[in-house]
């Protein structure tokens, strides 16, 4: 239960990151989700990514909407402020928070109901605006908390646990994110942490809207034969275009790659994305190509995963608004209030 704190017992030799934090310092309350839920694997991946990146937990703000996925921010980064907002409206609240303090790291956690149905408008506009954030959708194709209704990402023809077939066209949030201007777009699978953790790291260190669609099977309502979001189906149809190794500037690069096998992308903060190609024709800097590839493979029933698009020179919302470097929530009275002299001059102009 979430109100039970995790035991503080810790092995003396638990590994520490360069800040001296252990993994436990990045964990949160005990999850109340179903045993085997893909979402818990994503929470674990977030914990690992933040630990590896030496992010101070309290410098992260985690925001979510409503639903099973949106409950998860309580289950990681317990030393961070979190905000469980209203259904489908996390993007706007996150946008406001990001405007108030540009120095924190913003993580938006949402689900397919929260982002593709009720919140599709806010999802779209947050991407358009270039909000500097890591936006993760934990995508299982169903409404879990209300017990198994189809969501808007459910594939046409997929079958619910009760045997109902979905006739509606699915929304592909990755395709939308690409079209709408997200500058880091990835898809992954909650059952593949080797793929997921580096993708989250890259997103956290990306400047601009980073979107990761994580297929995360619902063990209770959408893990049966006939579902296209079950563990088995996703494993069989996972079509990864690349594997990402995330490398901090301080890290030594030991791995060696065959010529033409690797693509190296340097992000604005100096972090390096090493992309090992799995599909030789796939170019993650080609936005239109990415959209085409996605559609072609989707038509074949394949789920394209990996780092699908990245623009490491993208600008974010603060740049567009030309806001001062100092966070707005830290500007003192003297920086904000023009004072009585300015008012006297203004009064004179109003006569």
């Amino acid at each position: 239960m979430t109100y039970l704190a995790k035991p503080k017992l810790l092995r003396a030799d638990a590994p520490k990151n360069t800040l001296g934090y252990t993994r436990r310092d990045y964990e949160g309350a005990i999850s109340t989700l179903c045993a085997g839920c893909g979402h818990d694997s994503i929470s674990a991946a977030i914990v690992q990514a933040c630990f590896d990146l030496d992010i101070e937990p309290h410098r992260v703000a985690k925001l979510s909407g409503i639903g099973c996925s949106s409950k998860t921010p309580d289950y990681f980064l317990g030393a961070s402020h979190g905000f469980n907002t209203t259904h489908g409206r996390m993007p706007s609240v996150l946008t406001g928070a990001a405007l108030a303090n540009r120095d924190l790291t913003y993580m938006g956690i949402s689900g397919d109901g929260d982002s593709a149905s009720i919140g599709i408008g806010q999802f779209a506009h947050a991407m358009r605006r270039g909000v500097n954030m890591t936006y993760i959708v934990e995508n299982n194709g169903v409404y879990g908390l209300t017990k198994g209704q189809f969501s808007a990402t459910a594939d046409k023809g997929s079958k619910s646990k009760r045997g109902v077939v979905n006739n509606d066209t699915p929304i592909d949030l990755v395709a939308l994110a690409l079209q709408l201007g997200a500058s880091y777009v990835a898809r992954s699978f909650s059952g593949d942490k080797e793929q997921l953790i580096p993708l989250i790291k890259g997103a956290l260190r990306h400047r601009g809207p980073a979107f990761i669609d994580v297929i995360s099977p619902c063990v209770t309502f959408n893990n049966h034969a006939g579902s296209t979001k079950s563990y088995d189906y996703v494993r069989e149809h996972n079509d990864a275009v690349n594997r990402l190794d995330f490398i901090l500037p301080r890290d030594q690069i030991n791995a060696s790659y065959a010529p033409g096998e690797l693509r190296r992308i340097i992000q604005h903060d100096g972090s390096i994305l090493h992309l090992r190609k799995l599909d030789n024709d796939y170019d993650p800097s080609d936005r239109v190509g990415a959209m085409n590839h996605l559609q072609e493979r989707h038509a074949l029933g394949e789920i394209v995963t990996g780092l699908l698009y990245v623009d490491s020179s993208a600008e974010d919302l603060h740049r567009h608004l030309n806001t001062v470097e100092k966070p707005l929530n830290q500007l003192g009275d003297a920086y904000l209030c023009p004072g009585s002299k300015a008012l006297d001059a203004l009064n004179a102009a109003l006569r």
Partner: protein
């Protein structure tokens, strides 16, 4: 019928076609009267349209300084053939009609009891100008020139206004002054100037400034320390944000690097705008939005979240009429209930009611202190009448020793000193908890914000006892708020009376004049202007001190009256409705007429019985 004779006290109404450039000419004329030291209250009555529909500009000229609508019209400047008949009908007996006499009109289209003043404006324009747009724009300036002569005003004053307005664009100055002179000279030559209505130099304006409430709200938000605004365009509130933006560019641009000490985001809808405001305020920035009725409806769920998560947000609501296409360019005070109890699940909000641009500025700035101190949404409820019309008001002032009250923010130092932090814990006995700002401390003070399923330490809880604790604390917080809300303003009648009147917001100037009209008739009514909600004890005391209290409002359902009944547990029979809700601003004649009627009936039958029947 003897023509009306009046110096510095009359009503001029301009009937125009919208999109013809008339509003700026009319406003210039109003300013010219003010520069002669005579108070004027102009009101733009405009359609929800860009070009071609009827629009009126009503100017109350009042040496006594009455800034409300009086009612009636002494001089009609009829420039719109579409509305001719109703415009002619509106003129007071003995009044004046000014019109474009280019096209001859049959006698039947005029009235015998008014003075008709015709100038062939179109003909003169067609003769003087070749460009179609110039013909239109200069026609406006030309009638300003003619009126200058007809009202016996100083030509030099208007000429100087034009020079001030187009400073640096000499060509425009010359062209406009030329048009002004054409109108002036023609009136002087062909009509008998001045008419019975005259503007005479006076000293009634003094230090007052002339500005609209929306601009004053935008300025108030700058002075109040707002740094984040999320918004969505909607009439009549749009210009609050536009003003905030332009004042920010002027006062909040970093002189060293030209960067912005503010962020304004035009959202995709009102849900997103209030969402951004809540996010920014949760994260420690002062944030606000401006909207109108439909936006208030859309924001309801978020208001509840802000109320229960206790996020200090400020909302300027410039009130108008109903949903969809409903009267967006007309004024009303019809969102009180929608704001006072906005959202689901037992909520109650702080409201402020500015009476004019001066209070839009002061209460607008104060709203941010109140929101931070109380950690709750604060609504500044103005309306189109104050928001979009330039109004004379006292000059803005600011005490430089004043510091923003950021409320109970627990800092890293306080956490390190071992202060007990429970996000929703009442430690001070005033119902207001402490909060921390995200990122403040590495190990202490973090919390997870939610709606209501949590205990006093912000831990997840569905326990009934935790819920009840929270609701009782919020109720207590609302009691605390009572003492912080701006006090009501009492104006006693010249002699003791059993009757009172309560009013608020834009009704203020009309109510003041109505009181004077009633006093002149020997009718005495004490008045109380309510400036906010929750009601201070003085408001309920005022009702208890009178047998009957008129509640004067600009809505159909008597919304302030409902709040008074509900919150003050007042006997409804003692609160008499005086309601004006046709979308135009309430007038002094309407208020005094209704009150006088009610009281004269009262002399025959006791009101207690009459109301009961």
């Amino acid at each position: 019928m003897k023509p009306i004779q009046s110096s510095n006290d009359f009503v001029i109404k301009f009937a125009n076609v919208n999109g013809s450039g008339s509003a700026s000419a009319n406003e210039m004329f109003a300013r010219a009267i003010m520069r002669m030291g005579v108070p004027v209250a102009p009101r733009n009555i405009f359609p929800s349209n860009i070009q071609g529909m009827p629009t009126w500009y009503e100017m109350r000229v009042s040496a006594a300084g009455w800034l409300g609508r009086r009612g009636g019209c002494d001089l009609m400047v009829a420039m719109n053939p579409q509305t001719w008949d109703r415009d002619i009908a509106e003129i007071e007996p003995g009044g004046y009609l000014f019109y474009d006499s280019t096209k001859a009109q049959p006698r039947s289209r005029f009235r015998d009891d008014i003075t008709v003043l015709g100038i062939p404006l179109t003909e003169i324009c067609n003769r003087e100008y070749t460009d179609a747009r110039q013909r239109q724009l200069f026609k406006n300036i030309m009638y300003v020139g003619a009126l200058t002569a007809l009202l016996g005003m100083e030509f030099g004053v208007v000429e100087k206004l034009i020079a001030d307005q187009y400073r640096g664009k000499d060509k425009l100055i010359d062209a406009n002054v030329n048009a002004l002179k054409l109108g002036y000279d023609h009136a002087k030559a062909e009509l008998s100037c001045p008419i019975g209505l005259r503007i005479e130099r006076a000293d009634g304006v003094g230090k007052q400034i002339f500005i609209n409430g929306n601009n004053a709200c935008g300025l108030g938000a700058v002075y109040g320390g707002a740094t984040v605004a999320g918004w969505y365009p909607i009439t009549p509130s749009t210009s609050v944000i536009e003003a905030f933006g332009s004042y920010c560019r002027k006062y909040r641009t970093d002189p060293d690097n030209g960067m912005a000490r503010y962020a304004i985001v035009q959202a995709e809808d009102e849900l997103a705008s209030i969402g951004m405001v809540i996010g920014a305020a949760w994260n420690g920035a002062r944030a606000f939005t401006a909207t109108s009725g439909p936006g208030i409806s859309l924001m309801q769920e978020f208001f509840g979240l802000a109320y229960f998560a206790e996020v200090p947000v400020v909302v300027f609501n410039v009130q108008r009429g109903g949903p969809s296409t409903g009267m967006p360019t007309r004024t009303q005070q019809s969102d009180l209930i929608a704001c006072a109890y906005a959202s689901h699940g037992d909520t109650k909000h702080v409201l402020l009611f500015p009476e004019d641009p001066y209070e839009c500025f002061t209460l607008g700035a104060q709203a941010f202190d109140l929101a931070d101190r109380l950690q709750t949404p604060v609504f500044v409820l103005l309306d189109l009448d104050i928001g979009m019309n330039d109004r004379l008001c006292q000059p803005f002032d600011w005490d430089d020793s004043r510091r923003y009250d950021r409320g109970k923010v627990m800092t890293a130092e306080m956490l390190d000193a071992g202060k007990n932090f429970g996000r929703y814990l009442d430690v001070d006995g005033d119902g207001i908890p402490w909060r921390t700002i995200p990122g403040a401390h590495p190990t202490k003070g973090a919390f997870f914000s939610r709606g209501t399923t949590r205990n006093a330490y912000a831990k997840y809880s569905e326990a009934g006892t935790d819920y009840v604790y929270n609701m009782e604390r919020l109720r207590h917080k609302f009691e605390t708020a009572k003492k912080m809300i701006p006090a009501p303003v009492l104006k006693p009648a010249s002699q003791a009376t059993r009757f009172g009147a309560i009013y608020y917001g834009s009704t203020s100037p009309a109510m003041a004049e109505a009181s004077a009209l009633l006093e002149a008739q020997g009718v005495h009514v004490d008045t109380l202007r309510v400036r906010g909600f929750p009601f201070a004890d003085e408001v309920i005391d005022f009702i208890n001190d009178h047998d009957f209290v008129f509640v004067v409002e600009q809505n159909e359902s008597g919304q302030l009256r409902m709040l008074l009944m509900n919150e003050g547990e007042v006997d409804p029979k003692r609160l008499i409705r005086v309601l004006h809700y046709d979308g135009t601003p309430i007038t002094a004649r309407f208020i005094s007429g209704r009150i006088a009627d009610a009281l004269s009936k009262h002399k025959v039958t006791p009101i207690r019985k009459q109301v009961a029947s």
